[in-house]
Structure formats: C-alpha cells, structure tokens
C-alpha cells in the first residue's frame, strides 16, 4: 500500500520539483531588453529633480543679488508720508528755489570768496540724498522727517547768507569806487 502524507507537507518537501515548466527564455528576455531600453531613453526621474532644484537655486540667487533694497530705491517725498508734511516740504522747496534763482542772478563772475558757501550747499544736497534713502527704508521715521525739513531751512539760510555776502561785496565795491 502506498504511503499517504499531508498535502501541505508534501508541497513543502517537493517545492523545487514542482518547477517543471520551461519558459521561452529568449522571447521573455527580448521583452525585458526592450523594456529596459525604453526606460533608459526617457530622462531618469532624478534628472528632473536635480533640474528643478537647480532652477530654484538660480532663481533665488538672482532675486537676492539683483532685487536688493538698494536697487529698488524709489524716491519717496514727504508728501508720500502725509499731506501736511508734503505741503510743508513744497513751501520750503519753493522758497529755496526762489532764493537759488536770485543767487544765480546776482552771482558775480569772480566768486571765489563765496566758494565755501557754495561747497556747503553741495554737501547739504548730498546729505539730503541719504535722508531720502533713509525715508525710503523706514517710512515716516520722525527724526528723518525732521532732518529733511531742516535741510530746506539750512539751505535757505545758506542761500540768504550767499545773497548777503554778494550784497556786502557789491556795497564794498561801490563804496571804494566812490
């Protein structure tokens, strides 16, 4: 009589002997080979990830280096802070311009004796540019606003002094001539 055994045990023991079918190896390999070639033709996933990171880094670097606040300076006047300040500034500016026009009209050809005042005016204008930048960055910063209004007052004072010096010189020349 033939020996019987549990089917599960049988399958476990004869596991390797169950592999009886012969595949068409060359046919299957051909499919694998073309499958691998097709996948290789397209750029790998990591390439796109690296490209995306690269573009991001370049964009951020460009933004940081080219779009800094220094390059983004927009000239802000006191009128941008408040209407009242704008009006104040406009009046002082108008006054300074009138004085400057007067100075230009009266300025003699020989003006070396006035040069120190003209230099002061230039320096004052240079300082005013830095005030504008400060205002651009801080907006409605009280000390800066005060300094800007002060600039016009100083400018008017210097221009008045210039006119005075011109008048003095003129008077002096006339007195000597008489």
């Amino acid at each position: 009589m033939k020996m019987k055994e549990n089917i599960e045990k049988y399958l476990k023991e004869k596991r390797l002997r169950l592999d009886v079918e012969e595949p068409e190896q060359d046919l299957i390999w051909e499919g694998i080979r073309s499958g691998l070639q097709q996948k290789k033709k397209g750029l790998p996933e990591w390439f796109w990830k690296v490209a995306a990171i690269f573009i991001f880094v370049v964009s951020v670097t460009y933004f940081i280096t080219n779009e800094t606040p220094e390059k983004q300076i927009v000239v802000i006047n006191l009128s941008d802070v408040s209407e009242e300040l704008g009006e104040q500034e406009s009046q002082l500016k108008h006054l300074a311009n009138l004085k400057w026009e007067e100075v230009q009209q009266k300025l003699p050809e020989e003006n070396t004796y006035l040069q120190f005042l003209l230099n002061e005016l230039q320096e004052l204008d240079a300082i005013y540019t830095t005030y504008q930048q400060d205002l651009n960055q801080t907006i409605n910063n009280e000390p800066v606003v005060r300094a800007m209004l002060d600039y016009y007052e100083k400018k008017v004072k210097i221009l008045n002094r210039l006119l005075l010096e011109i008048e003095k010189q003129k008077y002096h020349e006339e007195t000597i001539t008489l």
Binding site: K4, R15, V20
Partner: protein, 194 residues
C-alpha cells in the same frame, strides 16, 4: 524557489547595479525558470506569465540600487513577481466564491496525498484550481506567506484567507486522488486488454 546563494551571484547583482547588460542577462537566466513557474501557478496563463516576468525583471533591474542586501536578490525578485501577479489578477477580479459550494459538500474530505505522486501532476492540478483558491494555496503552501499577509495582499480578511486555504488544500487533494483513481482504471484496462 530557492537558489543556492553564491559569491558570483552577489557579483552579478553588483554589476547590475552599475547597469551591466551581460550581468543582467546572467541573473535573468539564473532566475527565469523558477520565477516563470511561480507566476504560472499564480496566473495559470502563459502569456500573462510572460508579461508578468518581463515587467518584474524590468522593475527589478531599474530599481536594483534600492536592494541593500545583495544576497537577498532572489527573494526580493520573487516578491516583485508575486505582487505583479496579484495586480494582474485584481484587474481580472478574483473569484473566491467557487469554493463556497465545496464548503457544504466536501467538509469531510481528507487532504492527504500519495507520497509518490508526480510533482508535475501536482503542478498542473494546482493550475486547475479556481483563481482565488489557487493564489492562496501558492502563497501559503509554496511561498511561505502568512495568512495575515495573504489577506492584506488579496484584500480579504485573515480568517477568509485561512478558510480558503483549508478548502483549497482539500480540493487539490480531491483532484489528485481522483486523477490517480482514473489513472489506475486506465492502467487496469490496458492490463486486461493485454
């Protein structure tokens, strides 16, 4: 399927990681037959099996760098093959109801088989099992998966997987014994004629 591990296989895996086509072919040759038989028992369809093998090997070679333990290539590949088989059978919708009818009719069938039964016959009879039962039997009895894992993979409960496995064993034993009975009758008939 178990392939005896040796150093040359480890070397082949390393070369495959560098994209060496010759090494890929050698590794394929080494595992082709075993994986083919696993997939045949899972799908019972030659053309589907060939597709499964192609997909599985392509995936394995493309993702071989993810394999940390180079000695584990065989087991790793077999998992890919089995998962692919399950994906394919899910598309075709597994039928587990075939065995429900048996549940009432053959409760008392023993699952013993003759020790000398031809393995080729067993292989062919496994393929004739209903789809769901066949997959569970292959995964549990031949590939060593746990019931819980089978349940997870096939989208059924662990207890259903256990019941189905029990019925699948009974059905296979019944098919083996019936086949041998017929074989004996034919053998006797031929002997009388002679």
């Amino acid at each position: 399927m178990e392939v005896l591990y040796n150093h040359s296989e480890q070397k082949l895996v390393r070369l495959c990681k560098k994209g060496d086509a010759k090494a890929q072919f050698k590794l394929y040759k080494l595992y082709c037959k075993g994986m083919f038989n696993v997939a045949m028992r899972m799908t019972n369809n030659k053309s589907v099996t060939e597709d499964v093998l192609q997909d599985a090997f392509v995936k394995a070679f493309l993702e071989i760098n993810k394999l940390k333990d180079e000695k584990a290539f065989g087991g790793w590949l077999k998992r890919i093959v089995i998962n692919r088989c399950i994906d394919v059978s899910r598309k075709a919708t597994l039928v587990f109801t075939d065995l429900e009818a048996l549940q009432n009719q053959h409760l008392e069938i023993a699952d013993d088989v003759d020790c000398e039964t031809d393995p080729e016959l067993i292989h062919n009879l496994i393929k004739k099992l209903p789809d769901g039962a066949r997959e569970i039997l292959v995964l549990r009895a031949l590939e060593g998966f746990k019931h819980a894992e089978i349940g997870e993979k096939l989208g059924i409960s662990e207890s259903t997987a256990k019941t189905q496995f029990f019925r699948a064993k009974q059905l296979l034993a019944q098919m083996i014994n019936e086949n041998e009975g017929e074989h004996r009758k034919i053998f006797k008939g031929e002997a009388i004629k002679a």
